[in-house]
Symmetry: C2
Subunit: 345 residues, 2 copies
């Protein structure tokens, strides 16, 4: 079969690899019908050393189960399924608490010996814990929105949940990528009253307004912080969702959050150290929360609203390609010509 | 009157200063009957530059109201009162939410033109918002415990509340100073099941056991983290309260907290930057919370349990002195010969 491999920064190829097959009795093999490129894929696309060890890419997919191991009981050949961006056993202490990203036996697609999802097919470890059966056909018009349950909608939802967004909340969302825009949608869905979207790409911030943003701030840094404070009686918003992952975005979050409020991060931090001392977080009683989103348990929570059309997170896809077009899709997303590229292998 | 002034690191003196008097109609003047030395006083005692501008010291007190401004309505001359370590107007948006440390008109004793509490008397700004009348006599046996409501018990309570301690929680408390020990008491009071106290001074950790610690870990750093994990099936505790304020204590908290758990800091951070990235907090979904404790609203919450003897936080005092003995008290606490010194001016 064909799969997407990243050989080094900027060097992405679609190549023949061995077909996936069952290895453990808890495995399934899934033929992928829809996958996509994630904003987080752009970090390795930008920085991976050309070390001769290519990485299988892609961690979001919908597909049709082809074969299941003898221990798999919840899905069977022919089922259409969606997978979260981490696989998990569904039975360990962390999975039972809903923190599937800390699963004792879990992993991320494309890491270690796990396949990537920008491919024709994939071996799914712990199929029962990982896959969720979808009650639609593989060519349903809902597929783009359902695909966002793999990662970006669930991640936006995680940001809002961890941020403590409830009815009436004031929220700033930093970043107009797919996760930022879907954090807007998630915050709106949870009842936020004021949602300030910080982003400077009009097509994206327009979609953000459609998703529920009440204000858009194009400025960054101190000017951006000032603009958020002007919209909030000088105080900042109770919740700030940081959906970028850079240090400047973190600093912007510290500046835009209200005393006693919460910074919820879902942008993968490209830094390790950041200010957390007296002047930044401590004296002001700012909470820092968020993290890698355990989207598996969120699928059940968000699925009904996607199926009944209450929300349409699939609008973040503004381009579609087949597998051959994936390298071009990476370049378009890196150049910010595309927001998010849907892949039909 | 006499007051305590810090001229520079190690140079602390009790000197004559002008008697306090009413300045604003919202002020009160209080004759102090009980004050104390705080672990946080030791940071400036250790580091203050000898810049010719002495600092008034002390931020915890009980006293008798001598005089009130014309706008003061909740306390009157003769009342015994306790004050939190920050004064606050009680009416601003933050005060109404209970975040008195962010009061628009608030301040900390000893900063700016505010008097210090290690003195014979003190001018209290915003007396209605700041002072709480106590239903006991100035020589009550409950005075030590009531005095901890100014700061250390309220701060330990804040750590436990922000950490999300509830019935059945597992908690690590880093630090066997007064705040750490009272965080143990607060966690126990809120129903924590397992409380691991990290400290190496036996007299203190023995008091910690009396307050509710189920385990004591004397090791620090990696050895300390390993010991906490051995007590918790390898996972760490759901809550870690950091009551020291150093970077090593922060790192210990990151190592001792369970994935998905919460680090609640109340030790005043002596660092600004710390690890918050993928490996430390982000991938593990660790919350970082806590901060300067708004003890004013906690007084009403904790007072009944102190009055009826359910808790006895005053046990943290292991020495008593008059004002003349305050410099010696600082030296004893800095040398860890005293846990916390009570001052009867």
């Amino acid at each position: 079969m064909r799969a997407t491999l990243l050989y080094g920064a900027g060097d992405i190829r679609v190549e023949e690899v061995p077909d996936p097959r069952l290895v453990h009795p808890t495995d399934a093999v899934v033929r992928i019908t829809a996958a996509c490129i994630c904003g987080s894929d752009l970090w390795p696309f930008d920085t991976k050393p050309a070390d001769g060890v290519p990485t299988r890419m892609g961690h979001e997919f919908i597909g049709v189960v082809e074969e299941t191991g003898t221990d798999v009981t919840t899905v069977r050949a022919g089922d259409l399924v969606v997978a979260p961006w981490v696989f998990s056993d569904g039975t360990c202490e962390y999975c039972r608490e809903g923190l599937t990203t800390s699963c004792t036996h879990g992993g991320i697609w494309g890491y270690g010996d796990a396949d990537g999802a920008q491919a024709e097919a994939i071996r799914v470890p712990h199929a029962d814990g990982t896959l969720v059966k979808l009650p639609v056909a593989a060519d349903s018009a809902l597929i783009p929105s359902l695909l966002t349950l793999s990662d970006v909608f669930g991640t936006g939802h995680h940001a809002a949940v961890r941020g403590g967004v409830t009815a009436g909340s004031s929220v700033t969302v930093i970043g107009d990528g797919a996760v930022g825009l879907l954090a807007v949608l998630a915050a709106k869905r949870l009842g936020a009253e004021q949602i300030v979207l910080m982003g400077r790409h009009k097509a994206r911030t327009d979609l953000g307004r459609e998703f529920g943003a009440t204000d858009v701030v194009a400025e960054r840094g101190d000017a951006g912080i000032t603009a958020v404070r002007e919209l909030t009686a000088g105080q900042g918003t109770t919740v700030v969702i940081e959906a970028v992952g850079t240090r400047p975005a973190y600093d912007q979050a510290v500046g835009a959050v209200r005393n006693g409020g919460t910074i919820s991060r879902v942008g993968v931090p490209q830094y390790e150290d950041a200010p957390v001392g007296i002047g930044s977080l401590f004296f002001r009683n700012i909470r820092l929360t968020g993290g890698a989103a355990p989207t598996r348990p969120y699928i059940a929570e968000l699925l009904p609203d996607v199926l009944n059309g209450t929300v349409d997170p699939g609008k973040v896809f503004d381009a579609t390609t087949d597998l051959t077009g994936v390298p071009t899709g990476y370049r378009q997303m890196a150049a910010r010509e595309s927001l998010k590229v849907l892949v039909h292998p």
